[in-house]
């Protein structure tokens, strides 16, 4: 009973905040996703990553470990996803990103935070940093058909990560004015991203229900399977195990839809996968939390 209560209190904020966004979208009030996206991607997320990592809750070694394992997960997921899509004769360029890039930001971070505290957030954010870098480079390359590393270095993110790694390596907290600034700017990321997620869910439409359901299910199943195997293979325990499995099992990131829409790669199909998979994940979240916390 205690565990049920604990799980409810971890998941509830996610529903409350995303629910605000969903109702906002449904009410037909305008919600400018571009400005919110710019605020979070340019300011909020880099500040949150910096402020979380420099609280020195995780060491450079733990940071490297989870990033390495998550990198393996991504490679394995890309391979399995490509085989699956090939077998069912679906366009790889359109659907592989949605099968491979989970929603580690909006959904993953608040869950890691509420389930495992600041350590969980720091581990979750290490994964998220790798994920968002991969999503904008590999995801962008898939959707646009072009490879571009230069775009990555035009965003503040990689530079901020380098700065955070410096403080982590020196095991020294940054000056207080920097820490305070990063903390308040970072504070807007999770709520803004979750509200934006809710708004997106209320707007995206599901056309091909059958395809969306099975692809959406495939994302969650592949993620969960790989997450559990990798956690077992590398003997992960506690927060690291929980964060890895949680982050691997998230539904597709909304970014996948944005890229698909921008480069005209079956955007409605991808939107369907994102929406259906997210709702499936919200329904199965209690079970996933039970598995992660009980193990």
């Amino acid at each position: 009973m205690d565990l049920v209560f604990q799980i409810a209190s971890i998941i509830a904020p996610l529903f409350v905040i995303a629910g605000i966004g969903y109702l906002w979208g449904r009410s037909g009030r305008p919600f400018d996703t571009t400005i919110v996206g710019m605020l979070t991607l340019n300011f909020g997320v880099p500040a949150l990553i910096f402020s979380t990592l420099t609280k020195l809750e995780v060491s450079l070694i733990q940071f490297g470990e989870i990033i390495g394992i998550f990198g393996l997960f991504m490679l394995a997921n890309l391979a399995i996803g490509a085989l699956l899509l090939r077998a069912f004769k679906l366009e790889i360029e359109a659907f592989l990103p949605a099968l491979s890039f989970p929603n580690n930001g909006n959904m993953g971070l608040p869950l890691c935070l509420f389930a495992f505290g600041d350590t969980g957030l720091a581990l979750g954010i290490a994964v998220f940093a790798l994920m968002s870098t991969a999503n904008v480079t590999i995801g962008f390359a898939f959707a646009s058909g072009k490879w571009s590393l230069a775009t990555m270095f035009k965003t503040p993110l990689p530079w901020i990560i380098v700065a955070a790694l410096f403080f982590m390596a020196a095991e020294m907290p940054p000056p207080r004015w920097i820490a305070n600034t990063a903390e308040i700017i970072g504070g807007m990321s999770i709520p803004l991203m979750l509200i934006a997620l809710g708004v997106s869910l209320s707007r995206l439409e599901v056309r091909d229900f059958k395809q969306s359901v099975w692809l959406g299910f495939a994302r969650l199943a592949i993620g969960f399977g790989l997450g559990v195997c990798l956690a077992w293979a590398f003997d992960l325990e506690g927060a690291a195990r929980g964060v890895l499995i949680l982050q691997c099992t998230m539904p597709p990131a909304v970014m996948n839809y944005i890229l698909a829409a921008r480069f005209d790669r079956q955007a409605t199909g991808v939107a369907g996968v994102v929406v259906v998979s997210t709702f499936m994940s919200l329904l199965t979240l209690p079970l996933l939390m039970l598995f992660v916390l009980a193990g």
Binding site: S9, A12, P13, V16, I17, I35, W177, T181, I184
Partner: protein, 293 residues
């Protein structure tokens, strides 16, 4: 050295965030103020009020003390500013609200948080809530000729304050999920408010420099003098005294500009006062903190 670092830790985040907004606008990007102010005033600030008061257990006596001081400060400031504006033959509807209502939200709250922690924030929120009530009633009445009670009742911050009083009075502890949700949502308040503040400042222009400087200085000076006087009169001490003086000495609030636009009361003049007094506070705020800490 340590005092410099301490001051930097309090004021630089505020100026840095506002600076981001200012650069954003100056770089020619768009900023959707409607969306941001809805997020801030309908969602983030009410949540911040509820989360802060359910964590920091202020005593009712401390709350009434700071509330009383705030009300007296607002009234005395209004009286003195009215006399001075009359002497210089300046219009009340245009200038009086700017003299009375300082930037107790976007600047005052984060400064109080960084200087005095969450208890400081809770005290500053009491001051802020009264300021918001005053802006919609007295401020609107001066600018438009009538108080806007309907708008006041539609303000979620007011309802949040009522809930907060209930939480303190009956000593309720919020369930963890409610606290976590309001705390996360409240976290949007400062960065969005400050970025929006910077954006507004970036759009404003200085129309008449001498008058702007004169009124800006006057606002900061009476704010400090009256805050100090009232704190002495009530024999306030420690954190309560510092918060009262800090909040009272803030520059002109941007909301005054919004009212001036709505009721067509020389908005350019108000914008220029807001901008100049904010620029002056870059110098006066660290000095004030140096005195108070």
């Amino acid at each position: 050295m340590s005092i410099v670092a301490e001051l930097a830790a309090i004021v630089l985040p505020v100026f840095f965030c506002a600076g981001l907004g200012l650069l954003w606008i100056r770089s020619g990007r768009e900023f959707n103020s409607d969306l941001v102010s809805t997020l801030v005033y309908k969602i983030a600030v009410p949540c911040l009020i509820i989360a802060t008061f359910s964590k920091v257990r202020l005593e009712i006596s401390v709350i009434t003390e700071i509330a009383l001081a705030a009300i007296i400060i607002y009234l005395v400031t209004a009286a003195i500013a009215a006399i001075v504006l009359r002497i210089f033959k300046l219009s009340f509807p245009a200038y009086l609200p700017s003299m009375i209502f300082p930037l107790v939200g976007s600047m005052g709250l984060p400064v109080c948080l960084f200087a005095f922690g969450e208890k400081g924030l809770a005290l500053a929120l009491v001051y802020f809530t009264l300021g918001a009530v005053g802006t919609f009633t007295i401020g609107a009445a001066i600018a438009s000729g009538r108080a806007d009670f309907k708008k006041l009742l539609q303000e979620p911050a007011l309802w949040a304050a009522v809930i907060a009083i209930g939480i303190i009075y009956w000593d309720i502890s919020l369930p963890k999920w409610m606290y976590d949700s309001t705390k996360l949502l409240g976290g949007m308040a400062f960065p969005l408010q400050l970025i929006a503040l910077g954006c507004s400042l970036g759009r404003f222009q200085v129309s008449s420099l001498p008058r702007g400087i004169g009124l800006g200085l006057f606002r900061l000076a009476i704010g400090f003098a009256i805050g100090f006087g009232v704190a002495e009169f009530f024999a306030l001490e420690g954190m309560v005294r510092a918060i009262v003086i800090l909040q009272s000495s803030m520059p002109v609030a941007v909301s005054n500009y919004l009212f001036a636009v709505i009721y067509k009361r020389e908005p350019e003049e108000v914008a220029s006062m807001v901008l100049i007094s904010a620029a002056m506070s870059v110098v006066t705020l660290p000095l004030l903190l140096l005195y108070l800490l």
